[in-house]
Amino acid sequence: MVMRHRRLPAAACTVLLAGLAAALSACSSGPGQPSNVITVSSNQCGGRWQVPGPGWHTIQISNEGTSGAEIDLTDPANGAVYAEIENTGPGTVNPITIDFGSGSYALLCLFNDFSPLRGPAVTVAGHVAGSKAVLPVTYNDLIPYAKKYATEEEAAIKVLAAQTAALAAAVRGGDRATARRDWLTAHLQYETLGDAYAAFGDFDTEIDGRADPTGVSSPQWTGFFRLEYGLWHGQSLKSLVPVAGTLNKNVDQLAVWWPTQQVPLADLGRRAHEVIENALQFQLTGHDDYGSGTTLASTAAAVTASRVLLALLHPLIAPRYPQLPQVCTGLDQLQSLLDKEQQPSGWWVAESALPSAQRQAIDAAAGQLLQELAPIASITEPRNTASDF
């Protein structure tokens, strides 16, 4: 998580405080309760604070330091996080609301430019269940996974490079049917790489860019979709030789560039979710169908990409996300619905030709899957903990 230093005007925060005082009394258990505003700064994280007892309570964290801070409410035994507020500016007051069950609680103060501080532990007696805490995933946790992912992607990009070379050769060879088949093979391989959050930088625009910004006639438009457009709109293969050549060259450059990059740790989990969001927005809508009618195949490739990431991150996600099995079921269900649309010829029913019942079944499966994937981005977000420093 990037710590940003943020200042808010003091006057606004005074108003904020006054408004919250009213909200406080609505939230607190009754009249005469001790104020639950807890002060934190870079040299003290909470002082003595109390929880009135088990149940839903809101504590107000007042940042009286001179820099921005993230404040976590943690289980002091293992650092698991119940709730967090990020990017609190100096002078602001922000609420944390959880269902306090029996156990211990401690604030963790992560001020910009200062060492992390853990405040004193507060105990709630008894045997009452409450909100569950989640062990945060740290930057250190993610590093080996990022390395493994980079290596896997590198191998997959090399496979792609061989396929785009074959594709370029097929286009030069002049047989449209062969060129189309090789196009599909290479394009689907690219889609399984799971580019999301600008994983491939400018390469994605060159290799898999849409016509939207430039228009289909623009010479600036390159890549898989450009080639698809030509192969399925009767453009001569001779005219497409440079297009296929450029594509092949760009993929070769991607293969050289990729190993020099560090995969942003925050993006690993997000990508598993985002590739399916992209599939819903561009492939299942048919937006990215430039003539081949294979966007359902692309969606299936996106499912594979998501699966690869989830398999990679499984040891991190499984202990933190009880619904993970449902995600896997959801991926399987969407995959199986999509696979039904592949024809014996190896080509696919176009999204635009789907009968309503199949269309809705796929939309339902994709929509449900996305709801189940969404928490994974939050769960796998790298977080600072005391032990990081």
């Binding site: 805490a133 009880p322 959801g330 969404a374």
Partner: protein, 441 residues
């Protein structure tokens, strides 16, 4: 308004719908991730009960204060013999949305109906959605602010004839008069805007309340149902004050309706009566809902002189009085006007309800809304009426009325293009009940 008292919402015990089986995909989405009491796997209390246990109920006094300040309506109680959205006068804002059921079998369909029930319960009562920890997106869209205000939201949930096909084993339980919507001679029905397995109508005091509810319901049911078509509607303030709101032809709409405060009228005209009618027993407490999406050719209409307009309708445009009457709620005296010299025999009002002893049983409870969206191919406005009506028997009531209207002069100025026949389900009677329990259990 109805005779139901508008009781303030008091926080009650957490509802306990049936628990999902462990490990099975569930549409019960209230929990957003791992922080929960009672997560899906094996939790006896069930995921949805866990959600409700975590929602902070609305404080009635605070809600009433806020309503006064912000113009939000008070909560309409959700539980009852009948669905709460049927009898009240049209709200300021509505959305009518048709869905296909994509649940894969009856167990999932039941799951779906329970989820819709849970969401409707929460949205109509209001409250503070549970905060999530570090393991998921927010549980609420935030469109209504940190606390969801009820704002008079009602949810009306109905089923269409196609739900009773072979997917869910319900064929033998299809209501007698529930068929795909019939096309009448002047109709121009677009299949893409007609019918559906399920219908959801959301009505509230403000548009954002309606949209927030729609977004919440669709978020929680993506696997189980998918929208086919939707249309948003509104009710104009009555002008002059104290009269009846107008439609987009400039005429007051819904002046004459059966008295919703009369239980005997509601029992004979609105509520399905299984004992008397041969309808399956599970329909008790339900009502047939007919939705008609009707485009008004408003540019054409505005080029027609006022006498012609008023004789087509049967009322004065300005005052809403029937042509033979001196007050808005005057009952037209057709017996004294047998040849239609005052109110023409072809007037819409007269054809729809001739007010004879024989036609008394065909009277509808009408709940129409205005809609306005977009343009047609010649740049004319696409606006008109979302006509909804509730009745005991579609054939005896809506179809009889619509048959009388065939060929009326008004047909030149309207074009029905969608809608459908549905059965609005019996009411959810209490915390342990759910939509469609008598059909599915």
């Amino acid at each position: 308004m109805t005779s139901e008292s508008q009781e303030p919402v008091t926080p009650g015990p957490a509802p306990q719908p049936a628990a999902p089986r462990p490990g099975r995909r569930s549409f019960l989405r209230g929990l957003a991730g791992g922080i929960a009491g009672g997560v899906v796997a094996g939790g006896a209390a069930g995921a949805a009960a866990g959600y409700h246990g975590r929602t902070t109920p609305a404080d009635p006094a605070a809600v009433a204060d806020e309503a006064a300040l912000t113009g939000r309506l008070n909560a309409v109680p959700f539980h009852g013999t009948y669905q709460a959205g049927i009898l009240p006068a049209p709200s300021r804002a509505t959305a009518v949305v048709s869905f296909s059921a994509t649940a894969q079998h009856k167990r999932e369909l039941t799951d779906l109906f329970q989820t819709v029930t849970d969401r409707a319960r929460f949205l109509t009562a209001g409250g503070t959605p549970p905060p999530v920890g570090i393991d998921g997106p927010p549980s609420d869209s935030g469109v209504l602010g940190p606390t969801v205000v009820p704002d008079g939201l009602t949810v009306t949930f109905g089923v269409g004839s196609t739900l009773f096909d072979d997917r869910y084993g319900l064929a033998a339980l299809r209501p007698v008069h529930l068929t795909p919507m019939k096309s009448f001679p002047n109709d121009d029905l677009d299949p893409a805007q007609s019918d559906g397995d399920l219908i959801v109508q959301l009505s509230a005091g403000n548009t954002d309340t309606v949209l927030h509810a729609l977004r919440d319901i669709t978020k929680n049911t993506r696997g189980g149902m998918q929208a086919n078509w939707r249309i948003d509607g509104f009710t104009s303030p009555a002008r002059p004050a104290g009269t009846v709101p107008r439609n987009l032809m400039g005429f007051m709409d819904g002046v004459a309706n059966p008295a919703v405060t009369s239980a005997s009228q509601m029992d004979s005209l609105v509520w399905v009566d299984p004992a008397a009618s041969g309808e399956p027993g599970w329909t008790a407490g339900g009502s047939y809902l007919v939705v008609r999406l009707i485009r008004m050719l408003v540019e054409f209409w505005d080029r027609v002189d006022i006498e012609e307009q008023e004789t087509m309708i049967g009322r004065r445009r300005g005052t809403g009085c029937p042509l033979d009457g001196t007050s808005l709620d005057a009952i037209p005296d057709y017996a004294n006007d047998p040849t239609g010299d005052v109110i023409p025999l072809t007037a819409h009002m007269r054809l729809a309800n001739p007010r004879t002893a024989q036609t008394a049983s065909s009277v509808l409870l009408r709940r129409a809304y205005n809609y306005d969206r977009g343009l047609d191919q010649v740049g004319d406005l696409d606006q008109g009426l979302i006509f909804t009506c509730f009745q005991q028997d579609i054939k005896r009531q809506f179809e009889a009325v619509q048959t009388r209207l065939i060929g009326e002069p008004l047909v030149d100025y309207i074009s029905p293009f969608g809608g459908g026949y549905f059965l609005a389900l019996p009411g959810v009677t209490g915390p342990g009940d759910y939509y469609g329990r008598t059909l599915l259990a």
